[in-house]
Symmetry: C5
Subunit: 287 residues, 5 copies
């Protein structure tokens, strides 16, 4: 995620950040401009065509297209924000779990460190699992939970969670944590897995294929039929007009695509690296 | 569900996938084109009719129709996404239940395998139950829970869940699982039935009949009155215009119909088969 | 609720089902047509009036009216879907409660039958309570819980729920159900009352009076001022135009009114009768 | 709240109820009409001004204004409906609490009456607290909980809730209610305070000042610049046109203002008085 | 937050509050006016340019821009309202926790005061933590929990919560609070951390960079190309027209920016100071 000041209008208007859709769409914009120029030349200078009121069709379709793009934007943003919410829940659960364990465990119990490291590793593994996969070597080793323990596992976060459950269960068997307190710890443990499952769901399920297909086809149809009518009314002025309309409509779709899978390392993705650091710091301070 | 790269614009624009609405609507598009051609011939070449500003009525109605189609799209997508959420919850619950059982049960207790198979069967049965029904032979048999056990039952997932409750209750009666731990297992068991109930609700309750009826009538009225005014202004150009507008409006309705019941095996349906495989693998790794 | 195939376009387009708004609005449509004809005759043939660009005002107001109608549609649909959700929750709770009771109670305990009948009666009473009221005679009598028990009660579902609580509490006092298990049963019992309360809320609280009043006034104003401007531009063609626009706008309001209280026996109401049958069957199979 | 039949169109269209925005806005409508008349006289009869296509600007701004008004309507309605939901939750919680207490407490325990009166008083106090404040004299006195007990308290509902917690805790200390059952009672007690807090939140937090300010300014700008362009095109017909548009736009804002704080005694407010009566009756029947 | 009467139209229309966007945008409005004047002079008086129907492009783009601005407004308002909800939850949790502690703790137990002060400090620290940071000196000192205790901590609210958990756990170890009662206290303690985590999430995650960038670019493009077409049709009248349109569109973005981070001390921010006072008073009255 990029840190930025949303109130700095001039900087944002003239910024051409690498994640700016303008940069990404530039070849498309040039292509559309050239195409419009050619249509304008053919219709006006060769055929001298003329018909009336030709923009009405694009108004009609433009309306429904705008609404579909806003639907697209809403769903993409909802996924992004749900992803943020799930990672916020990781922060909350880590804190609550640490606060409870701190209150329940004697100051010198070695389970404190074990659980702190395991939770930290769980968050790290969750973060990497949602990207390209977890390197067991990058996890903090501790006692039996070393790189060997983690290798050969298909779903590393699940295995770490298994270890956490096992450790807490042992504390219960050793009567260090009472049954009532075990119930108090349940919500956070359960929620960790639920959050990760939620993130996997967002990552693996883009918007239905039919909508992705349909929206791109309609944008294409819309922009490539536009010059036919517009060059008669606006002559060569149609070139910037069509280019701007293409830029606006295609950008909305492009941003939605980028936002929709928010766990990577792109400019608009969620700051899962820094959330991990926050959790690590919180755990070290509390536990 | 189709795996696809949402960022590959050209491929998506020119793809004519079997699930593409263009293919499905092709007969309709041809019909609308022929009809528009006939209207154009009659009005322009026979009656030489002329009136002014005739597109305004279609703008007015087009507006409210677009908004209704977006309402339709939103409700259909909400069902699809809720279905996905419920199946995501199956994944989470299976994991959490397995993690808890793994921590609670001794390593050599045969209930481990029994419960793993029962949960796997439950998910399989849920998946098939939401399609054409469950074949008892396709379930993994184990001890008393064989094909005979499952046959003659009306609602097989309920019966499997009954067996799971029974097994866990027996573990409690045998004092292997304490009362506090029984409380910890409750949430996941309950949630399995809630999820399946949610899926049944989505499957059995399409959008109210009145909306389905009304939307189709308005699209029909809209498209079939369109040529009357448009052929005067656009002559034979009205043919592609009306065809495109029909394609855009009808597609939105058609996609919504497809998305709204997401548990089948269509191109846009949820990947419940692969979710089942994921759950099976997770259970095998953990328990 | 009407069972229908949402993909059967022709049938839906030409169906004139008794719940179709077209049938309901027919007198209104005829009235509007006659009124428009009269206005057309007066303006065009008597006064020969003429002014320009008269449709712009109806575009402006049509826009805001469309958006209000979509707001209306959304709120009505939300109630309908929440009602469906609450009845889906009745199904889930009955199943979970039955599954738990089946695991907790010895096979020969008479409380099994008592509770099965009481839950079945509760759902039946809830269904009737949301319509015209419960006939005690229609409930399944069992031991002390016969028609006499139910008569003279103001709120019959509450009384049945009271009996269920009493029965389960007795099982706890008799040490058949332990304290931990009592906690496990709590969620479903509580949820039954919450669901019924939710349905009562939907039934008793239509959309605020001010919106109902305002929307009908604006539709009236809109449709009855429409011919004044339209007959100049479209002559007698204004008759079908105004009739269609009236049909489209008034239908949205009419459907919303029908959908908003979904517990009756109308064509678009929820299938609470068949949900009751499902619950009854489920309970008989499990318990 | 006004009871009304939403299907009685004619009555609603011609009703001029005291809560009708038409009545409230009448002075404004007259003012706008006079102003438009004056502008029409000056522009047409004095300056004989003329420019073209002047309605396009109002279309553009009218569009964004309509969308903001729908945003306003949605947020106001959401508050109203959330308020209704919270009061529905009061009904559900009272019922569940009464059902549980009925099952847990011996038939002759005086705590039954005490708790019934305290819960009834809590709902009454909540209702009054959300209006102008609670008169201790209006609460039902019982033993130590008389008018003196309630006077001198800043937040009376909190104090009643404190008494309820105290009573139930005493029952636990006296071993009449076991620890497990205490846990079962917790949800409802907690939810009472949460509901009241939710109502206080809705009451004390109107829509952000910036939106209220901005919307009123834009409606003002919109309506007062409208005659400048419209009188040229529509002559004195601009008077009813501008009056109608003012009526429609201002009404939406006015209704939203009325709906947004739903706990008073206005025509569109929630029927908290009759909900209180329902709760009182339910409690008397159950406990 | 500013207290205001939403029904006082005249005051709001003519108020130029320091938080009014008009004041903030004044330099921009003047700039846009001058720019439009220059364009008008060049096009009309120097080049005598003329083309037709030039407003249609701005209608098309204006439509999609309006919808994006409403999307922006919705997301900003949702954050603001979620923030309000979280602070409302602080109020509810403090009350419930105090009510429970009051019932559970003997009248003379010193833990009453300790916990009251700690909860009060937690809310104060949460409030300041969401602004510029917590000054340990401003917290109420009590016994070991004095300014020294709080200094050198990175995340002060977490440390206070740790102390609360510790105190309550000690009460449990001393058998003053039973295990069942400990479970009853869990929800509120957990919810405090969840609420603060939720506020941190809102504060640290503005709308995705891509949307902020894109919206500002489109508003800029829209307003700065507008005079090119408008001065031909409206001559020097284009100056107020473009200025008004700029004011309306830019205001929506500016308000959304202000609303989106609602924990500061701006005019539209949440009244966290007065909510803190309410909680403090409630706690003093109950505990």
């Amino acid at each position: 995620m990029i840190g930025y000041n949303p109130k700095d209008w001039w900087k944002l208007i003239f910024a051409f950040h690498r994640s700016d859709t303008f940069r990404f769409l530039l070849p498309g914009i040039i292509g559309v401009s050239v195409y419009t120029g050619v249509v304008a030349y053919i219709e006006n200078d060769i055929f001298h065509a003329s018909f009336k009121n030709t923009t009405v069709v694009h108004s009609l379709v433009g309306f429904v297209l705008s609404m579909l793009l806003v639907f697209r934007t809403n769903t993409a943003y909802d996924r992004w924000w749900e992803g943020r919410r799930l990672w916020g829940s990781f922060v909350n659960n880590s804190r609550n779990l640490a606060l409870k364990l701190n209150a329940f465990l004697p100051k010198d119990n070695p389970a404190r460190e074990t659980l702190r490291i395991l939770i930290t590793n769980y968050i790290f593994a969750a973060k990497e699992h949602l990207r390209s996969g977890v390197h067991p070597k990058k996890l903090i080793p501790l006692g039996q939970y070393d790189a060997d323990f983690y290798s050969n596992k298909k779903h590393i976060p699940n295995n770490i969670m298994g270890a956490i459950y096992q450790e807490i269960n042992n504390l219960h068997t050793q009567r260090i944590i009472s049954g009532d307190r075990l119930i108090l710890l349940n919500y956070e443990l359960q929620s960790f897995s639920d959050n990760l499952g939620g993130c996997e769901r967002i990552k693996r399920t883009p918007i239905p294929y039919a909508y992705s297909l349909f929206l791109k086809k309609v944008i294409f149809l819309y922009v490539f039929t536009m010059p036919i009518g517009f060059v008669i009314e606006f002559k060569y002025w149609a070139i910037p007009i069509v280019a701007i309309i293409f830029y606006v409509f295609a950008s909305i779709e492009v941003i939605a695509e980028e936002i929709e899978d928010p766990f990577g390392t792109d400019a608009n993705d969620l700051p899962t690296d820094s959330i991990y650091e926050t959790i690590k710091e919180n755990l070290e301070e509390i536990l």
